[in-house]
Symmetry: none
Subunit: 193 residues, 4 copies
DNA sequence: AATGAATGAGTCTTCATTCAT
DNA sequence: AATGAATGAAGACTCATTCAT
């Protein structure tokens, strides 16, 4: 039943189906037909809305990134202005429910892996990585000199990514409270200088 | 001219070619024929030595794991017995040259990604992860009570993996000295309790 | 804003776009969407005016044939009544600007090629061929006996088609003056009997 | 039943099947699977021997060209040295049985048509065209001054191609005797200067 | 032991066509 | 009259695997 103005609806529908397929089958097995089946549409429609499979994959990664940014922005907006509070908000944003469910983490991991061979995906990933690092450094700079702030930001970024990676790989729900507490200890330790 | 006793030679030759192909093309594009071309053999030979492609991939991951274990064991064998020294040895082992070159890191990342959908690969990865965690916890226990040791081990493991992941994704050589120094600060901080 | 009486305008618009697409892409790549894009309309419109793609292709070939007939008729109308003058007019008509531009010749060649497998296109082509042959023979008959006239008509028709084909294939502008002179020599030679 | 040294056999087998398919269905409908079916092999084998479909098409056109060259060379080898005899041999070579059967002519026409959009096919066609023209001019030069020889060669080449084209399009067997006689008259007329 | 010929399932993509709006 | 959403079949191509030699 063709209709007008379906573009945003169909696009999101297909992105959701892509996430679903990657979660269940892995990126390697997430074929066009599997995605179309999950979206309840025909395969041809994908080229209609995304030009080709790569366009869909790219749009899906963009969507995940936007979600992460939203989660962090939201956490930041609900916190006080102290550096520690803001650093903790960034941490909590990165471990918010929209990010640490298995489906999202598995998809991230898959994207990271392929991004090493696809320049446009790699750029998305790099921008995101830089953004996290800069945000952390910016807060640490309020309390530390630049060199120390850089070290602290690097360490905290690695800590976040590391927990994140281990969560994705462990296939058991991430222990968020513990994770956040360890990050907090790290922040406290760095800010104590 | 067929020879006898080719098995170990051919196997290693094919594993090397696999690593090479994954490094250059990515796991998704590392086809049997690409691997065979790099090894200078015919495609049919792979089934002869590894049964099928999956067997080759599995063996390659085992090989990488063995390399990591060797690197850590070697670092440990050359150090004194103090907990800090041993923890640092583990850190250095994880960031030894055999582990932090781009090819190895890209391959690891690819393996991790697919391991989520392939039980036997996942098991390899889990064993490795547990082994790192246990080693770290064992050392921390010498100075801390169990709960604190667990936290410290979790944190340090995440830190290592996080640096590792960021190194793989950044496509620029990992800054080892800085990385190791940040890990050392973390260890010092934890052991200072 | 739909209008009435759009039929002839839209039809010609689509035929022009078809010629344009075939010229640029070749018949094989001249898809409905490419044609629609060039015409500045949606794809659906084609079925409205031509039933389907084949209807559009057929109409386009008809249009080219009509153009050829017009060119020859016009040349004939502007000449004196002598057989040689009329034969030369037919020659000039066949090499008139509307026929020997690259776009037209490439399209003709494409049509001829597919006409071998599509009865209705083939009929168009055959009618045209017969018409040229008959016209030539009719003029030669005024000076020669029937057998000789047939030979002369066959030869001149072949000469015209041959130059025409070579012009289409050479992708450089046809040297019209030379071509027409060679045809004239042929006519003179035949009429000299 | 895989065997060794199948390359030349399979290649010719596939080229023959391609000619068959083009003859029966037209180039546009001569799909990989249709060709494979006619060759009695699987579709995958084509990429094994010709890389892709275009490689097969190219090889097929090369094969037809080689056949034409052989036919002309053979006709030339069996004739005396006089210019007229040699010119007639070239004509007869171009209208030899291997060239004027419907299948070959239809395939030629299809190739010419697509060659306008595919540089490598176009080059093959251009080389062939030049070769015919040069051969004719070379013979005419023995009796005529250069300008006259060029005209004569151009005319005869057009005559040959024109008959050839009309034969392809008429879908009835070409009347060879008549064709050759008309060409002979043209040669006689030109050499009579 | 090693080759490479051969298969055929599976993937992405393109495209003419239909149809609700 | 005109749009463009949607379909689904068909196309070329890739690839892991098998097997006779």
């Amino acid at each position: 039943m063709p209709k007008v103005g379906m573009q945003p609806i169909r696009r999101q529908q297909l992105i959701d189906a892509t996430l679903e397929a990657i979660n269940e089958l892995g990126l390697a097995e997430a074929s066009i037909s599997q995605i179309a089946k999950r979206a309840g549409v025909s395969t041809g429609i994908i080229s209609h809305y995304f030009k080709d499979k790569h366009g869909l994959i790219f749009a899906t990664m963009q969507y995940l990134l936007a979600q992460l940014e939203t989660a962090v922005a939201q956490a930041l907006s609900q916190t006080e202005a102290s550096p520690k509070a803001r650093l903790m908000a960034i941490v909590r944003g990165n471990f918010s429910p929209s990010q640490i469910n298995q489906a999202a983490m598995k998809t991230w991991l898959a994207f990271w892996s392929v991004s090493l061979y696809q320049p446009d995906l790699h750029e998305l990933q790099q921008v995101n990585e830089q953004w996290l690092y800069s945000s952390l450094k910016h807060e640490f700079c309020k309390c530390l000199d630049e060199k120390q702030a850089e070290d602290a930001a690097l360490g905290l970024a690695a800590l976040i990514d590391g927990f994140w990676l281990r969560g994705a790989l462990s296939q058991t729900p991430l222990m968020i409270d513990e994770t956040i507490r360890i990050c907090e200890q790290y922040i406290d330790h760095k800010l104590a200088y």
